[in-house]
């Protein structure tokens, strides 16, 4: 390991601390990280809320959990590991990313003199940080305001530097090994069902933030209401299913390319995400191609811009192939 090019424990600490609800101290903290933060604390707090409340929920389970939501088995795995380290784990946020990074910082500090801590550091990194870190950072860079987009860039750099300094694992992390692939929707699946399935990153390989969906709406000319991501995605499908599928296929391909860049440092972990995203891209593209047939076109026309129940019922058998 090259200590000069490896992120220090304090760097990890500040990366973790930067994720907390901002106080006045955070303005100096961002300055130390070389990031320009708003001078007004309230503006920084608003940016923080936009980054971590509106766009990218800062919990491990959101990215590697089997439902794409906070909690569940993924959160329990993280909590169990952190408890084994002796960490004080908040039952309500046992997999909060800031806390995981703070624990990691402590291990980095201890690792120099403590073989057990060094071993735990490697395990925590490859099992509970690397699996989600790439997609999380990429989503923040796309969607979060300054200084949090910049924070994500630094985090990505630290991640890469750390990965090359730590021995690579022989197997994928359990979070990824245990994650099922994207299952074809059932015959009677509704737009809402498909929307929810598309919002599980670890199965699709794709993270869709509110900003991503807003971009989709703008590019497709579809006005979006206020609501959760599932509702927004459902609205896009209702308004124009083939166009939405095509847009999503393009986004999946873009995210696959982004992950491919990580393969050099994160190895199989990054390759997992590349493959999942490409699979999603293929399935979404194929569905779009098949829609060119008359039946799909007819359904499309009927459903376009119509938010009635009737329009929301068409199945998604095209995605099943």
């Amino acid at each position: 390991m090259n200590p000069l090019s490896a992120p220090s424990a304090d760097l990890w600490r500040l990366l973790a601390r930067a994720m907390d609800t901002p106080t006045r101290e955070h303005i100096g903290l961002f300055d130390a990280l070389g990031l320009a933060a708003p001078e007004a604390l309230e503006a920084l707090q608003a940016a923080h809320a936009e980054a971590f409340v509106t766009q990218c929920a800062p919990y491990v389970s959101v990215y590697v959990g089997e439902t794409g939501q906070i909690g569940g088995e993924a959160a329990a795995r993280v909590a169990d590991f952190r408890r084994l380290l002796g960490a004080e784990v908040d039952a309500d946020a046992s997999d909060a990313i800031a806390d995981v990074l703070a624990d990691y910082a402590d291990l980095v500090a201890l690792a120099a003199d403590d073989a057990q801590a060094a071993h735990a550091r490697v395990a925590l990194f490859w099992e509970h940080i690397a699996p989600w870190a790439g997609v999380f950072a990429d989503a923040l860079i796309r969607s979060a305001p300054a200084p949090y987009d910049g924070w994500a860039g630094l985090f990505q750099a630290a991640l890469g530097a750390e990965a090359v300094n730590l021995p690579a694992p022989t197997a994928l992390a359990l979070h990824l090994r245990a994650a099922p692939g994207w299952q074809p929707p059932a015959d009677d699946a509704t737009h809402a069902d498909v929307a929810r399935a598309l919002l599980v990153p670890v199965t699709t390989g794709v993270v869709l933030t509110r900003a991503d969906l807003a971009t989709a709406g703008a590019e497709l000319g579809i006005a979006l209401p206020v609501g959760g991501r599932a509702f927004l995605l459902e609205t896009l499908f209702r308004a124009d299913t083939p166009a939405t599928e095509a847009w999503l296929a393009g986004e999946a391909a873009r995210q696959a390319d982004a992950r491919a860049v990580d393969v050099e440092t994160l190895g199989e972990t990054a390759r997992f995400w590349v493959e999942r995203a490409f699979a999603a891209e293929e399935r979404l593209s194929a569905a779009g191609d098949r829609r060119l047939g008359p039946r799909a076109a007819h359904r499309n026309t009927r459903g376009h811009g119509n938010a009635s129940n009737e329009a929301s019922t068409p199945g998604h058998e095209e995605l099943m192939s």
Binding site: D20, T21, L29, P58, D90, A102, A158, A161
Partner: protein, 970 residues
């Protein structure tokens, strides 16, 4: 920049940042916040906190500006901090959240805190003073002015004072929610007239502690404990449960072991490492078997016991011929508890002996970090229940876990009650209706026997206040209260001071609306943890408007309707009682700047905060605020940390003065002694005050007991008629199997529903939605035996009659015992057409001594008469008022009502409705006399001609000869 260069650069920048930060004396990294996205509004933004709120129907959000004003929750005794969000446009409170500045609750609240909003917006709350029309209890009312109400009361009370009928004035309080204000008012009137609810609540819990250490309450340092032993569902519903629960969970996260002794599977037992589910009443036997184990294995703290127990007094009294050595005492100690084997205790408790062994081993490993707790629960349920906390404390006393880190301290060392400017004295007479001679050792007032005392002709009441108290519903034998309150020859005028309608207010002459937590001033301190604090309750709309520059001197200006606060009410009433100053009363409440009016609340609290709270003036000055402004802004001040082992404090120099040491090592002085917030121990025959106790050649502060030590042996109990209980012992409960018929089983009626508020929760829709029924818990074995299925209606037959409840068949309760929470079953009758409570509407039919309470139409709760929630009461259960069927069970020593019941269970009969209650009132008198037969009246046991041992606590402690029994009565 290449990634490797970027990281190197960052590492350097951050190293420099760390160096700069630490050079300024600041902390570079304080660790993760652990609050993540749930941070509190920073206090510098409390004047104008901006939240984004949706604009209905537009899909847009707009900025909403709030002023955040702290106050103190009034919905249980914990007194947690609340932060009221006052809308700056309307000056209305929009919501309540936690106050992060509160030292005990630390920003966290249970459901009851935010539900204060339900209480203040209740469309059916009492908004104006009301006077009855027609017969008392008829349910007809007229609105009157505050002046009319105050003048009526002042005229009657003045007459009682002038005509030397002070005993005819009585104030009966439920939830005090403050420290010392009302006591000072009644002291100003010269009254020994405060009657509290304590003997239906914590009297037995207090008794067990008082005999040991002089102080009557424990203060637990749960956060630092290694072993926590709870006798109750303390985590979710015990006294101070929110501040306690958060610290217990912190301790568990650290690895502390949790033992819960509770007959039910509560939310506390689900967090426990050991859940012991004993037969009710056997708890003291369990604790004594653990004590025996500690003694037998010599795992107790011998040095502590030798130094701090009054073992020499025990040996002198019981074994005068033994050698005067600690070893001789140890031999007698082992002999005393030899019978309490694990096998004996397990048989009494009907539990697995192996579990008891495991629990004892866990306790033995605690060292001085053993934290135990029993407040109500088993202590309040059983005849002799006061021995439960006494035997529990025995474990702390054996381990030396007294005022240690992680141990248990006397409450007064973690509670701070500042002096107020009223400058009053205790009364100079004794009220036999409150502290009758039948119970010379009762820790608190015998309040729940009042109807029986009135019926016996022991006295009558001219003016009777109930204040946030509902004895008709809360006390055993509620129909006795209905009868007494309906009789104008026994109760001349009944004034109910209450924010909400309740069963007792229905039988009042005056119903006077008082404020909820955000509508009144109070100052309170509780021994919640290892630290001392005061918390300020304030009318938040008033405080917000003052912050904006207005001058407000009467809280009615900002409260809804004519809702008032008690402090201003009592000052005004006091002024009217002594309108010309001739009685020497109004001088106690007069303004120090204007002799022609009473103090304002600003004057009263400014005096306290400026003169009697150490450190507060300095803290306020550091922020450029007056002490009063500081408390109005933050609501809480931490006076000090940690109880230390004050009993070890050495007394030297002037504090020791001219000292005299008695034969037991108790040191007395002619110098003035400051006992702080603790009890005042008894002076010797020459009037010298106990200042300490001689330990190893030094005079140390010790404890406020007669001996100055921890009293394993109580010479008081021995001398005052109860020598058989002079030591911590196991008393078989009245519901012990030996005392029940073969077809009876114990009913445990003492547990709370964590989201309910005794008598003020009925109109809180949020809380009722969370918990609205009190089914009868029954084990499947008993269900099978009694042919009762889940959901079946059953009759539960207690002392006075039966109630109809719904069976809940669950393995969450041990076989052979049933349980029913006391928190539901609220009712009202509506003869006058009033529908003010969200309870069931009932009829009361009376035929001679037979009383029947029957739900009208169905037993569903009534919805509010107006407002958004009128259509949102979806639940249909109200529960059952079981207490009506209970007779009074005064423990002859502690005075505590022993709540557990021996009952018979039968299937409901045709026509029975849930919530129905039938009572034979004549049995109530029989039960009263049966239990009074257990007492040993003071005239037969007083060893010194006093009514009560002078060293024992008494909230109002009469002066001078008032303690002496009347001539010729002994």
């Amino acid at each position: 920049m290449k990634p490797s260069h970027l990281i190197k650069t960052l590492n350097k920048r951050i190293a420099a940042f760390r160096a700069d930060t630490e050079a300024r004396g600041e902390t570079f990294y304080q660790g993760p916040s652990r609050i993540n996205l749930a941070g509190f509004p920073p206090k510098e933004h409390w004047d104008d906190w901006i939240a984004l709120e949706p604009v209905k129907g537009t899909g847009k959000r707009r900025e909403k500006h709030y002023m955040l004003v702290p106050t103190t929750c009034f919905n249980c005794q914990s007194s947690c901090g609340l932060l009221a969000y006052v809308d700056r446009e309307t000056m209305e409170v929009r919501k309540f959240e936690g106050n992060p500045e509160h030292a005990a609750s630390r920003g966290r609240n249970c459901a009851k805190g935010p539900a204060t909003l339900n209480q203040i917006t209740d469309p059916d709350r009492i908004l104006y003073p009301m006077q009855r029309v027609g017969e008392r209890g008829e349910g007809r009312w007229k609105r009157i002015s505050w002046d009319e109400a105050l003048d009526q009361l002042a005229t009657r009370i003045r007459a009682a004072i002038v005509e030397d009928r002070k005993q005819e004035v009585m104030y009966h309080v439920g939830r005090e929610g403050e420290d010392g204000f009302t006591e000072s008012i009644f002291q100003a009137w010269g009254m020994d007239s405060i009657n509290t609810h304590t003997n239906i609540c914590s009297a037995a819990g207090r008794t067990g502690h008082q005999y040991w250490m002089g102080f009557d309450r424990p203060s637990n340092d749960f956060a630092n404990a290694e072993v926590i032993l709870l006798t109750s569902a303390h985590l979710e519903s015990g006294h101070y449960f929110n501040p306690h629960a958060q610290r217990i969970i912190e301790a568990k996260k650290r690895g502390a072991r949790l033992i819960v002794v509770d007959v039910r599977m509560s939310n506390s037992t689900t967090h426990a490492d050991h859940w012991v589910s004993p037969y009710p009443g056997s708890e003291a036997a369990i604790f004594l078997s653990i004590a025996r184990h500690l003694i037998e294995t010599r795992t107790y703290n011998r040095d502590f016991v030798a130094r701090w127990w009054n073992w020499r007094e025990f040996m002198a009294a019981r074994y005068p011929d033994d050698p005067d050595t600690f070893e001789a005492f140890e031999a007698r100690l082992a002999e005393t508890y030899a019978e309490y084997t694990f096998e004996y205790a397990a048989a009494e408790a009907r539990i697995d002996v192996r579990q008891l062994v495991a629990v004892a081993e866990t306790v033995a490993g605690a060292g001085t970090k053993l934290c135990t707790q029993n407040w109500r629960s088993a202590a309040a349920g059983n005849l002799g229940g006061w021995q439960v906390p006494r035997t529990l404390f025995l474990l702390n006393a054996l381990m030396g876990a007294v005022a240690t880190e992680g141990g248990m301290a006397p409450n007064a060392w973690n509670k701070f009650v500042p002096k107020n400017p009223m400058d009053t004295e205790h009364p100079d007479w004794w009220n036999d209706l409150i502290f009758p001679g039948d119970f010379p050792l009762s820790v608190n007032e015998m309040s729940f026997l009042l109807p029986h005392f009135l019926k016996q002709g022991r006295g009558k009441l001219d003016t009777y206040f109930t204040r946030v108290y509902n004895p008709v519903w809360t006390n055993p034998g509620g129909f006795d209260w209905v009868e007494a309150l309906s009789d104008e020859s026994k109760v001349g005028l009944h004034a109910a001071l209450t924010p909400t309608w309740n069963e007792t207010a229905h039988f009042a002459d005056l119903v006077l609306p008082m404020g909820h937590a955000s509508e009144r001033h109070d100052l309170v301190s509780m021994e919640t943890h290892d630290g001392r604090w005061i918390s300020f309750r304030q009318p938040v709309a008033r405080a917000a408007r003052v912050r904006l520059g207005e001058t407000i001197t009467d809280t009615r200006e900002t409260n809804p309707g004519e809702v008032w606060e008690e402090n201003e009410f009592w000052f005004d009433l006091t002024w009217r009682i002594d309108h010309d100053g001739s009685l020497g009363i109004r001088q106690h409440v007069v303004s120090k700047t204007d002799p022609d009016r009473p103090m304002t609340q600003d004057e009263y609290y400014a005096w306290i905060f400026e003169n009697s709270v150490p450190g507060l003036p300095e803290a306020a000055e550091a922020e450029g605020l007056s002490p009063l402004a500081y408390m109005r802004r933050y609501g809480n001040f931490q006076v000090g940390l940690g109880p230390d082992q004050h009993y070890e404090d050495e007394i030297v120099g002037d504090a020791l003065g001219e000292a005299y040491t008695d034969g037991r090592g108790r040191v007395f002085t002619t110098a003035a002694v400051d006992y702080g917030d603790g009890p005042t121990p008894e002076a010797d025959a020459k009037g010298r005050l106990p200042v300490g106790v001689e330990i190893d050649g030094a005079v140390r502060r010790g404890f406020p007991t007669p001996s100055g030590r921890l009293e394993f042996y109580s010479a008081t109990l021995a001398a005052w008629g109860w020598p058989e209980y002079a030591l911590p012992a196991y008393i078989k409960s009245h519901i012990h199997a030996d005392n029940l018929a073969s077809d009876q089983m114990p009913l445990v009626p003492t547990f709370r529903l964590p989201t309910q508020i005794h008598t003020r929760g009925a109109n809180s829709k949020w809380l009722d939605e969370l918990a609205h029924n009190n089914p009868v818990w029954m084990n499947p074995d008993d269900g099978k035996r009694l042919d009762v299925a889940d959901g079946d209606l059953i009759r539960v037959h207690a002392d006075l009659g039966y109630f109809v409840g719904q069976a809940w068949i669950t393995p969450g309760i041990r076989p052979g015992v049933i349980a029913c929470s006391h928190h539901m079953g609220r009712w009202q009758f509506t003869p006058g057409g009033n529908r003010e409570q969200r309870t069931m509407e009932t009829d009361i039919a009376r035929a001679g001594d037979d009383w029947t309470l029957t739900p009208v139409a169905d037993h569903s709760p009534m919805a509010p008469q107006e407002g958004q929630d009128a259509a949102r009461v979806w639940w249909t259960a109200v529960g059952v008022h079981q207490n009506l069927t209970f007779g009074v069970h005064p423990d002859p020593i502690s005075g505590q009502h022993c709540w557990h019941q021996g009952v018979r269970v039968t299937k409901a009969e045709s026509g029975d409705q849930p919530g129905q209650v039938h009572v034979d009132r004549s049995k109530s008198t029989d039960v009263f006399y049966e239990w009074m037969g257990r007492t040993r009246p003071v005239v037969t046991v007083s060893p010194d001609g006093n009514r009560r041992p002078r060293w024992m606590l008494r909230p109002m402690k009469p002066r001078g000869d008032a303690y002496k029994l009347p001539e010729g009565s002994a």
